[in-house]
């Protein structure tokens, strides 16, 4: 199974590697540039032509980011929001996915179709009314306002349903006969079997929320509720930008997602494979 057999366009070895290196270069260059910028002094940032290598690495930029603004608070806000949304996603996506995969009940088709319909309503076409609803609930500038509108998604439920369907119903029935309650069947039998799919949902939800920008910009206006992505825009003044500090905070923004991805990367392809399969 794991030996790949599909053959691509035939290329003599050398152009193949040159091509790959070119693509890798284009992809990696902005990252290199970000790190380099984050180590430059203010004069170097505005020198022309731009510098590729900082003259004397200014590690102090990284400290300055933490001292010039409540950076740790922003970090905390982002962490709270991204992990709560991820936890809620994991729980509610799999719960609903389980119901749609294994239960028969009147109105099932209707509810499922109404759910699918929400896939066609992306955030930007909801952002204005969503703000109005949160204003109405008194959720402006709160964690609820940042978290609850994103606690589930039709896409996640769909993936979970797809994943749970092939699990033999006999296991569930056996547990029922043994007197297991419906909720503990879900918690103790279904959830542990779903780990690969849950890993996919967790990684993508976490990264998405960690990096989310437009909703926080809309719902937050007090300084203490700001998230990390908003912190970067802090360094932009009207016509003048503290590029080195913006770059240093970008490094702090990027590292956690990089670490998370490196740890879970094995699960992602296998989980995607299962989710895409029929």
């Amino acid at each position: 199974m794991d030996k790949r057999v599909i053959s691509g366009i035939k290329l003599a070895k050398l152009p193949y590697y040159v091509f790959l290196m070119a693509i890798l270069g284009v992809v990696l260059f902005p990252f290199y540039f970000m790190v380099s910028l984050s180590l430059q002094s203010t004069q170097e940032v505005f020198s022309y032509p731009p510098r590729l290598i900082p003259g004397r690495p200014m590690l102090s930029n990284y400290i300055q980011v933490w001292t010039t603004m409540p950076f740790s608070r922003f970090m905390l806000n982002t962490t709270i929001v991204a992990s709560s949304v991820t936890a809620l996603h994991i729980f509610f996506d799999s719960l609903s996915g389980y119901v749609f995969a294994k239960f028969e009940f009147p109105g099932r088709r209707l509810i499922f179709n109404l759910l699918l319909l929400t896939l066609m309503i992306p955030i930007p076409s909801r952002i204005v009314p969503l703000y109005r609803i949160c204003q109405w609930f008194g959720w402006v500038n709160t964690y609820q306002g940042l978290i609850l509108p994103f606690m589930s998604s039709a896409f996640g439920i769909l993936i979970m349903r797809q994943f749970i369907r092939p699990i033999p119903t006999a296991i569930i029935d056996a547990a029922r006969i043994d007197g297991c309650s419906e909720f503990s069947i879900f918690l103790r039998i279904i959830l542990p079997l779903c780990k690969p799919a849950l890993a996919v949902i967790a990684v993508f939800t976490f990264i998405y929320q960690w990096n989310s920008f437009l909703w926080p910009v809309v719902i937050v206006d007090s300084e203490l509720m700001r998230t990390l992505t908003m912190a970067i825009t802090y360094f932009a003044r009207d016509h003048w930008m503290m590029w080195n500090l913006a770059a240093a905070s970008s490094v702090f923004l990027f590292l956690p997602t990089l670490i998370l991805f490196s740890i879970l990367q094995r699960f992602i392809v296998s989980g995607l494979k299962i989710s895409l399969g029929k």
Binding site: P122, P124, S125, I127, L258
Partner: protein, 289 residues
């Protein structure tokens, strides 16, 4: 027993039903309702009922037509790039060697970044006067185009967006390619098929469900592009990058015109709904093989 199970099913679904009812269906209702009023985001001002006034205003603004045009161009170009490049890469990088796996991981890095970060780094690289790219071009005695000028600004946004999402789509296509059973290849070989033939008649047709997911995800993520526009170009120059979602955002949160923004939202949502219904029809026919 069966009745108990029905009750359990409803009980388990209650949180999700509430969630989707409030944050999706109610929000559409609120948008439709607001779209009939002249209304400010500031709570103190009284809304005035203007019937279809906001909808008329949308079409009277020349800016709307421009931003619709720009949005279609953006969609067309980025869908094309984000479909063709990852698909060809997935077909070229089919081997499962350590090197290929590493390449794929690195290609995924951009998708891990926040668009805020992406927008700022590329703004610095592409800046027409002080940017890195034009610095290199100048050194090589090549022309130094204005990357954020009227002609190239949209192209720049498309390129940065492609840079961001390419690795993500590559992962999807990789998963799709790896899902094709090995036996198909062996059978094709026994029948004397060459590799080109195998890709054209076996791999590509079997990738159709993956392709649908890729298109869907790309369209969904393309709505995020307004972060790029917000930071890199602010819709300019001359509205050349004034993507429709960004225009709505500006009306609501910069000009505080909730009524007009809601009408624009309803208009966008109906177009999307129509498009996706058509898409579903097309997919239904094509997925059967």
């Amino acid at each position: 027993m069966a009745a108990g199970r029905v009750k359990t099913a409803y009980l388990f679904l209650i949180p999700s039903i509430c969630f989707f009812a409030i944050f999706y269906y109610l929000s559409i209702g609120v948008a439709v309702y607001d779209s009939f009023f002249f209304k400010s985001l500031a709570v103190t001002k009284q809304p005035v009922y203007v019937k279809l006034g906001n909808y008329f205003e949308i079409f009277q603004r020349p800016m709307t037509i421009v931003s619709l045009k720009v949005t279609l161009l953006f969609w067309g170009a980025s869908l094309l790039l984000l479909f063709a490049i990852p698909l060809s890469l997935a077909l070229i990088l089919y081997k499962k060697t350590k090197f290929v796996t590493l390449v794929k991981i690195i290609l995924f890095f951009p998708a891990l970044c926040s668009l805020v970060m992406v927008a700022y780094s590329w703004k610095y690289i592409l800046d027409p006067r002080y940017g890195f790219l034009n610095g290199v071009l100048l050194f090589l005695k090549l022309p130094t185009p204005d990357w954020f000028g009227p002609n190239l600004a949209l192209a720049s946004v498309v390129i940065v967006f492609t840079w961001w999402l390419m690795g993500y789509n590559l992962q999807l296509f990789t998963a799709g390619v790896e899902n094709i059973p090995r036996e198909y290849y062996e059978a094709a070989c026994l029948d004397g098929a060459n590799k080109k033939y195998y890709i054209r008649y076996i791999v590509l047709p079997l990738l159709r469900p993956t392709m649908v997911v890729v298109v869907l995800m790309t369209v969904l993520y393309s709505f995020q592009c307004y972060t790029l526009v917000y930071i890199m170009t602010a819709g300019g120059p001359f509205n050349r990058t004034n993507l429709y979602p960004y225009a709505v955002w500006i009306q609501a949160f910069a000009h505080l015109r909730v009524g007009l923004a809601s009408a624009m939202t309803v208009f966008m949502a109906s177009i999307l709904l129509g498009l996706s219904l058509i898409l579903i029809k097309i997919i239904d026919i094509r997925v059967e093989y």
